[in-house]
């Protein structure tokens, strides 16, 4: 059993990486009051930009990830101009961004169909990788997975321990009050939204250049939406987001190891599991209205103009 479980748990960390990046980005944006339903679209745009940069420059994932971040940020900028500067409906703008991202990535991706990339070798953390069992699970991962954990630590620290974190949260809870004491609400929301875009872009580029380094149309496959659901599940708390991402990483990876673990279900039904789990988890967390109300950024989704 153990020899089957080690690859499952190790794979869980990798499968969770795109959810961690995209989820953290969305979490920060939502803490400032901006709900961006365009995560799926930004991830797809990041995925194709990253893939194109990696393939055309020959630089692999090292070129792909920054390109994905920039592309995701540009996509978020379009959303921000519409929903923040022009106060358009955030839900509709996010949806538009997703539809646009699906179209744009398919359009550009036509060039790259069935191209493949070298990917990234796992990086062993010296010393730690030799710990029995745990070493193979935790310290034999691709570098981006470690980067995801570092990003988590930074976001946690900024939101929890710094003045910047306090300002971000203030803008989300009470934009009028934040404005009255002189904080540039719109500029701060722009910053958080662009950060969310960059993170979604990295998540997408990770998928296309590291996780499964070949181009497949619509390869993000709903992970952007799962990331949004994870933010609700996490009640806007980064630590719970990390746990949720691992949980979903585990459910995602299960389908590839089901046979070894003695689960006899058709592959298509196993592939549907993460989406089913998302519904279940949303129901479990949303039924407690008080818990949600307590943690929900008070101005979430409401357009604000000075």
């Amino acid at each position: 059993m153990l020899e089957h479980l080690i690859p499952v748990l190790a794979g869980t960390l990798g499968a969770a990486t795109p959810l961690i990046f995209a989820g953290l980005g969305e979490l920060v944006a939502e803490r400032t009051g901006v709900i961006n339903l365009g995560v799926e679209g930004m991830m797809l745009i990041g995925a194709i930009a990253g893939f194109a940069a990696a393939a055309d420059s020959g630089g692999g994932a090292l070129a792909g990830l920054p390109a994905g971040a920039v592309a995701g940020m540009l996509a978020a900028l379009v959303f921000a101009v519409l929903s923040l500067s022009m106060a358009a409906n955030q839900a509709a703008c996010g949806l538009a961004l997703t539809i646009f991202g699906v179209g744009l990535s398919a359009f550009i991706g036509q060039h790259y169909v069935s191209f493949s990339l070298p990917g990234l070798q796992p990086l062993d953390i010296p010393g730690l990788v030799d710990i029995p069992v745990l070493g193979r699970i935790l310290f034999h991962q691709d570098p981006v997975t470690y980067l995801g954990l570092i990003t988590f630590a930074i976001v946690w620290w900024v939101l929890r321990k710094t003045r910047l974190g306090l300002v971000l949260k203030a803008v989300g809870e009470a934009p009028d009050a934040a404005h009255a004491i002189g904080y540039p609400v719109i500029a701060i929301r722009y910053g958080a939204t662009l950060f969310g875009g960059a993170m979604a872009g990295v998540a997408g580029a990770y998928l296309s250049t590291v996780y499964t380094p070949l181009w497949v149309q619509n390869m993000v496959a709903g992970r952007g939406w799962i990331a949004i659901a994870l933010v609700v599940f996490a009640t806007w708390n980064p630590t719970r987001l990390l746990l949720g991402a691992w949980l979903f990483g585990g459910v995602t990876i299960l389908q590839f190891h089901a046979q070894g673990l003695g689960i006899a279900l058709p592959v298509q039904l196993l592939a549907a599991l993460p989406y089913l789990a998302t519904v279940v988890v949303l129901v479990l967390i949303s039924r407690d209205k008080r818990l949600l109300q307590l943690n929900l950024p008070a101005s979430l989704g409401k357009p604000w103009m000075p």
């Binding site: 379009v78 949806l95 991202g101 359009f107 659901a229 998302t278 519904v279 129901v283």
Partner: protein, 356 residues
């Protein structure tokens, strides 16, 4: 310094102009895109918008594509008026197709008039049930319908994949993921030799008239709209928020389900993995472009159908990827949302310099 200021009252003129502005801007950016791809924009737009309509078959195809788009969008618009965002019509379409297709497979070889009507009813029920799930989750457990409807779309699409790979796979289909081809009693018969247009466009037409009457005449539709515009007022008047959710999601699931049957009993003729080129998502744009109005939706549906046809024509004539249709769809919605801002806001006049 904000550039916009709220209008005293929303501009009715802008509400009607905004779709036209969005179409104009999409064409303008589209021209730049064609230029950058080394294509002559005039030639490209001819291929996109004129060529598909220069033959009888083109008009037939326009109806084939407009039918499901209009039907789904009419259902979605009811919910959108009430601010219930069903974005999983694609999944409800798939479940409708599965239910209708299941009937066709079960009664394969039965030559009776009732097979096709039974398929339509089964599809309507299937789609409505798939819409009822998020309604239940929203009313009972407070779960956001945007996320649940979309997750259910993925689940529906994997279920379809399972059915055509497993229990319903055509034994003589050389292992392709597809069901048997349906027999004539399970198909809408084409109206003209060599063209695909069939009676399912009538369903969309009848539905459009029914929705027009429903939205302009019924008290229930009025309650839904008030619930969307002013939830507090609706609560005060005693309109049930729960009923709004149920009606919105079940009704839009029902129309999407029927559209799904229209596909499998029409142009597709079987269950396979390509029963819809994203009609459920494109219908969201159709609903907004049509101003959530039954007549507007018919016009917007025809335009969106033309965009699909244009994409196919551009693939053949200009060697452009058919995905360009998706790109245009996304741009159209963006520009529409941008232009819609000016329904409620206007540009702020520059402050006059103050003289001391």
């Amino acid at each position: 310094m904000p550039l916009l200021e709220p209008r005293p009252t929303p501009s009715a003129r802008m509400r009607l102009l905004s779709p036209l502005i969005a179409i104009g801007l999409t064409l303008a950016v589209g021209s730049l895109l064609f230029l950058s791809l080394g294509k002559n924009p005039v030639e490209a737009f001819t291929v996109f918008f004129i060529q598909p309509l220069s033959s009888g078959n083109g008009w037939s195809e326009l109806m084939v594509k407009a039918g499901p788009l209009i039907l789904i969008a009419q259902g979605l618009a009811i919910g959108f008026r009430a601010r219930i965002y069903n974005i999983g019509a694609e999944g409800q379409l798939i479940v409708g197709a599965l239910a209708g297709g299941g009937v066709a497979i079960a009664f394969d070889g039965v030559d009776a008039w009732w097979v096709l009507p039974l398929m339509v009813v089964a599809g309507a029920i299937g789609g409505a049930l798939w819409g009822a799930v998020p309604a239940l989750l929203k009313t009972r457990f407070n779960a956001e319908e945007t996320l649940t409807t979309l997750m259910l779309t993925y689940i529906a699409s994997f279920t379809l994949s399972y059915m055509v790979n497993g229990p319903w796979r055509d034994p003589e289909g050389m292992n392709f993921p597809q069901s048997i081809m349906f027999g004539d009693p399970a198909l809408f018969s084409p109206w003209f030799e060599g063209m695909r247009v069939n009676a399912s466009i009538l369903i969309a037409t009848v539905a459009s008239i029914a929705f027009w009457i429903f939205t302009s005449r019924s008290f229930l539709a009025y309650q839904l709209t008030v619930g969307g515009l002013a939830p507090a007022a609706a609560r005060y008047a005693g309109f049930s928020a729960q009923r709004t959710v149920w009606v919105s999601l079940v009704l839009s699931g029902l129309t999407a389900g029927i559209a799904g049957v229209g596909e499998v009993a029409g142009p597709v003729g079987q269950l396979n993995l390509n029963i819809s080129p994203g009609y459920g998502f494109a219908a969201i744009i159709v609903a907004y472009l049509g101003r959530l109005n039954a007549v507007g939706i018919v016009l917007a549906g025809l335009l969106m159908a033309l965009l699909y046809l244009g994409g196919e024509a551009a693939q053949v004539a200009l060697q452009l990827p058919a995905a360009i249709t998706g790109l245009f769809q996304g741009m159209l919605l963006f520009f529409l949302l941008g232009a819609d801002v000016f329904v409620d806001y206007r540009l702020k006049p520059r402050p006059k310099p103050a003289y001391a």
